[in-house]
């Protein structure tokens, strides 16, 4: 029957596990957004629309062959670079930083694209030099990371620059960056800290201190963290129950549908809910790493590994910042926070994972 055939066609490129875990996380997201927006159906509907769009994008990407993804890597990376240069030259200034580029039809944020393009590019590069990998190749790869990173830093957007660097670093890591080099980098980084500190202006130090200890700016950024901690702590083991978070509904938590949505969730669903959320995230990450392990090519392995660890980084950084162990940087909780662009790039990433996984299934058959 044609319906069955259609269903098969739709299901064919999908990895059921990854889809299942993603949908569960999205359910968590919808429930929490409903509560955090004071039961606004409109907000939930609008989230559903962006979920729909992102799922279609994921499916389309999942249909591509990894070879196709690989062929696309350099052009996407180059386009991303050109757009970043464009932003530096003609970008719109929002929030005091140049991040958006108006291309006539829409405003786009090329740094978001770079989060996918950098691991793709590196995976492509290492695949090409797979047979005779030398140390110099890591140097070139580092340059491939440094270029977009510098451009994003210039915007200035330290948070995104670090996330792009992290995605690139994960690709280097899986490509076999020697352990001693990594150890050396760590040592150099730690040693440079006091030097950098002594060269900073007083106001810069102040900003760093606020980043580390929110209590020094209790009316500004620190306010978010303090209220977030109260929300999480008062949730207890069982939580206050869905739609019953007092911190949330008394307006104490700022940005409660976006960056601080975890505080809302945690207040209402408690430690139990947190464990469930951590397990869901673990399942996604585990599945991603399995796909990386199964991948038939270097490109697939590196891309899957880097994308998965990036996903972990977002989740870790967001929950860490809301619960007060990491500085407040604007990173949404992946798949859970309200916000279409982040959702889109995450699910496109998952589409790539699925494409890599399907390719391996095909080979087996």
């Amino acid at each position: 029957m044609w319906i069955k055939r259609l269903a098969q066609r739709i299901a064919q490129p999908i990895d059921p596990w990854l889809l299942l875990f993603s949908l569960l996380l999205i359910c968590v997201s919808l429930a929490t957004i409903y509560s955090a927006s004071n039961e606004s159906v409109a907000k939930v509907t609008s989230k559903l629309v962006s979920v729909g769009v992102a799922l279609v994008a994921m499916w389309l990407v999942a249909n591509l062959k990894p070879q196709k993804l690989m062929a696309l890597a350099p052009p996407i990376y180059l386009v991303g670079l050109v757009l970043l240069v464009g932003v530096a030259l003609f970008g719109d200034i929002t929030n005091g930083a140049r991040r958006w580029l108006d291309i006539g039809v829409a405003r786009i944020q090329p740094s978001e694209l770079m989060k996918l393009a950098v691991p793709m590019m590196l995976a492509w590069y290492f695949e090409r030099h797979e047979a005779n990998l030398r140390f110099k190749h890591f140097g070139v790869a580092a340059l491939l990371i440094a270029l977009p990173m510098a451009l994003v830093l210039k915007q200035p957007d330290l948070g995104t620059a670090l996330l792009i660097a992290a995605a690139g670093f994960y690709a280097l890591f899986f490509a076999g960056l020697p352990w001693r080099v990594m150890a050396g980098m760590l040592v150099v980084f730690l040693c440079s800290l006091p030097v950098v500190w002594s060269h900073m202006h007083e106001y810069q130090r102040q900003r760093v201190m606020t980043l580390i200890d929110p209590m020094t700016d209790p009316l500004g950024k620190g306010y978010h963290t303090i209220q977030g901690m109260i929300a999480i702590g008062s949730g207890g083991v069982m939580g206050k129950g869905w739609l019953s978070g007092t911190q949330t509904h008394l307006d104490f938590i700022p940005e409660r549908t976006t960056d601080f949505i975890f505080a809302v969730y945690s207040e209402e669903f408690g430690m139990l809910g947190n464990c469930i959320l951590l397990i869901l995230f673990l399942c996604v990450i585990g599945r991603g790493l399995i796909i990386a392990n199964n991948a038939s090519s270097v490109f697939g392995r590196l891309l899957a590994g880097a994308l998965t660890l990036s996903f972990f980084t977002y989740a870790m950084v967001n929950m860490g910042m809301v619960s007060g162990i990491l500085p407040v940087v604007g990173v949404p909780l992946p798949l859970v926070s309200y916000g279409g662009t982040a959702m889109l790039s995450i699910l496109i990433g998952f589409g790539m994972l699925m494409a890599i996984q399907r390719d391996r299934k095909l080979m087996k058959n």
């Binding site: 076999g176 008062s234 083991v237 430690m271």
Partner: protein, 653 residues
């Protein structure tokens, strides 16, 4: 063999990759483990603490707004300060009855005027329900007592002690001091974008105009806060921690407010602008824009009637004419043209020619207003008698791009960078400018005729008075240019440390000192025996100047007759001047809108300013009072310039 190596490599690599996967899994598990232990810490171990905080008692952060920095003039006269007063405030969302009933009830206790009501209604439209809005500011002690006794009848209405901004000078210097106003939605958005919302918790005003706006971040100060424990009725139980606010920095201006007021009075009812600069450091001594307005109206939120009056008045009192009005410089442009001629080698001081009273190019004839011409004219005489023909020729010899290339570095047609918001650029015409400015291809080409009227400061030229003052001051300071500035130093409110705003010159223009001397000599001669002489006769100091007249109305070849022309179409009177001649301490540029001839309408005001600044002499009433109609004056003997060519387009902003 090669196959073996490949396989071995392949396996080796595979193994290495899996090892790294294991490391990655470990890192993920460790990371989530840290998170989990954090959750255990917050939600299990510290549950009681946070539960109490969230449920029964809440820690509330009460912001304590800082007091705004004080603005004073160079002699310490206070121009903007704060005082504390009680206000009666309504939070609409907390009211029991209707807003109208509440206001009526309050009106029985305190005096609420119609103006207060209008102002309140406007605030209401601009803000959100849960904001506390003042219905009446500056309550008397008696009113405070009367309300306090009846407060129980008015839930949602409170008396608050607040700091108010006051501008003791009223209309005087209003354009430069500016004002603060209530923070509106647009401001909130901007603050949020700059991540400065935290600094403005508890503050409901910010700089909206003038120095109050441009030095907002210095004047504002740092908000303090008090951490208080509140019960479920949000009454404060005890203070846990207090961090005091830090008052904003104080501004000491370069302005001499006495001089400013002397000049403002000298303007009388005339519209116009004047900028006086200390050429040796770029400090602005006076910056007048007439008419002015009372900045105190804006502090509590201006009521709609007053706002309409100010905003819709044809005299545009809210417009800072000194930096936002752009005008053709008229003949005040000639000294700069003359300097350009000397510096570029197009003229020597001694070059003279016989002025026939007109200049011809192609089919066009540009006339000097003195029929028959000025006889033999050299460079000095061309300035003293304001000979147009000399400059028609000169402009034609130089060409537009050489002219604009010289005037650009002098700062004409570019923002001076004065420390005020919304400064205008004006227009310094060049071939490239005309290509950019006009859309139609046939209008874009620079015509040789366009250059001619530029020579006498007419045509496309359009500068601000601030630019003219800067250029004059740079000229008399031997080419050493400072950025004009109003703030002399910023004083830290805690440490009293003073930070100078502009200690270094911006650039040194490489003019030959003998050339500068020639121009200065010609300008001194202008005030001694030329078009500026009537205003400066008997002055105990020597001064230099140049008069100018800018056309508002294109006469289409007709003869200018001030009687037959509407007052708002009469020519603008301009004047640039400096004194004392040997070591200038003050340089100025000014315009009297529709004032007629520069020598008659503008120069006397400059004289008044110099007399006061150099001699401490205050004007007698008769001197300050200008004739309201310059039309009664006879045409000046030596012929002020009226550019009567057919091709003249005059843009007056």
């Amino acid at each position: 063999m090669s196959r073996r190596t490949f396989l071995r490599d392949h396996h080796g690599e595979r193994y290495s990759f899996q090892l790294r996967l294991l490391v990655a899994i470990t890192i993920v598990l460790v990371g989530f483990g840290v998170l989990l232990s954090r959750f255990v810490f917050l939600q299990v171990l510290q549950y009681d603490k946070y539960h109490t905080l969230a449920e029964s008692n809440r820690i509330s952060l009460v912001p304590i707004p800082p007091s705004r920095g004080i603005i004073s003039d160079r002699n310490g006269v206070v121009l903007a300060h704060n005082f504390s007063a009680y206000t009666l405030e309504i939070t609409p969302s907390k009211l029991d009855g209707t807003l109208n009933d509440t206001v009526e009830g309050l009106a029985a206790l305190v005096d609420i005027t119609a103006k207060d009501r209008r102002r309140f209604k406007k605030l209401l439209d601009e803000s959100k329900d849960f904001e506390s809005l003042p219905i009446k500011t500056r309550l008397s002690d008696e009113e405070v007592a009367r309300f306090a006794a009846n407060a129980y009848r008015f839930p949602g209405v409170e008396i608050k002690a607040r700091l108010f901004r006051h501008y003791p000078m009223g209309e005087s210097a209003s354009h430069l001091i500016g004002y603060i106003g209530r923070i509106n939605d647009q401001d909130l958005k901007t603050l949020a974008e700059e991540e400065r919302l935290g600094e403005y918790k508890g503050t409901d005003h910010m700089g909206k105009f003038g120095l109050e706006q441009s030095y907002e971040s210095e004047l504002h100060g740092k908000t303090g806060y008090e951490q208080v424990e509140v019960d479920s009725g949000s009454r404060a139980i005890r203070s846990l921690h207090r961090s005091s606010p830090i008052a904003g920095d104080n501004l000491t201006l370069t302005i001499d407010i006495q001089l400013q007021q002397v000049i403002e009075q000298a303007f009388g009812e005339h519209k116009g602008a004047l900028v006086a600069i200390d050429p040796t450091n770029g400090g602005i001594l006076a910056m007048v824009s007439r008419p002015g307005f009372d900045p105190n109206l804006f502090v509590d939120g201006i009521d709609p009637v007053s706002w309409r009056e100010l905003n819709e008045s044809a005299a545009r009192p809210l417009n800072n004419r000194a930096i936002q009005g752009t005008y053709p410089p008229g003949s005040t442009f000639k000294p700069f043209m003359a300097l350009a001629a000397l510096e570029t080698g197009k003229r020597r001081p001694s070059d003279a020619f016989l002025d026939p009273g007109f200049f011809t190019l192609g089919n066009h004839r540009w006339r000097d207003d003195k029929v028959g011409g000025h006889g033999y004219v050299d460079l000095v005489k061309s300035i003293v008698v304001s000979c147009d023909t000399y400059y028609y020729r000169l402009a034609n010899d130089m060409g537009i791009d050489l002219i604009s290339g010289f005037m650009g570095p002098l700062g004409l047609g570019h923002k001076t960078g004065v420390d005020l918001p919304n400064e205008k650029d004006g227009i310094l015409p060049s071939q490239a400018w005309k290509r950019r400015y006009f859309k139609r291809k046939d209008q874009q080409r620079w015509l040789a005729g366009d250059t001619i009227s530029i020579g006498i400061g007419q045509g496309y030229n359009s500068f601000t008075i601030m630019q003219l003052a800067q250029a004059t001051s740079t000229l008399v300071n031997d080419g050493v240019q400072f950025r004009p500035h109003l703030v002399r130093f910023i004083e830290n409110s805690v440490t009293s440390e003073r930070r100078e705003v502009e200690p270094q010159p911006r650039q040194r223009l490489p003019y030959k000192s003998e050339n500068i001397e020639v121009i200065k000599r010609a300008m001194v001669e202008t005030n001694r025996a030329g078009t500026g002489a009537p205003a400066f006769s008997g002055a105990p100091y020597t001064s230099g100047g140049k008069t100018g007249t800018a056309q508002v109305y294109n006469l289409k070849g007709g003869k200018y007759n001030s009687h037959s022309i509407r007052a708002d179409l009469r020519d603008h009177a301009l004047f640039i001047a400096f004194a004392p001649a040997d070591k200038p301490k003050i340089a100025l540029a000014m315009i009297v809108e529709n004032g007629g001839f520069g020598g008659k309408a503008a120069a006397p005001i400059a004289r008044t300013a110099f007399d006061y600044y150099l001699q401490g002499k205050r004007p007698v009433q008769a001197v300050t009072k200008l004739e309201s109609s310059p039309a009664e004056e006879a045409e000046p003997v030596d012929g002020e310039d009226a550019n009567l060519n057919e091709a003249g387009h005059h843009h007056v902003d």
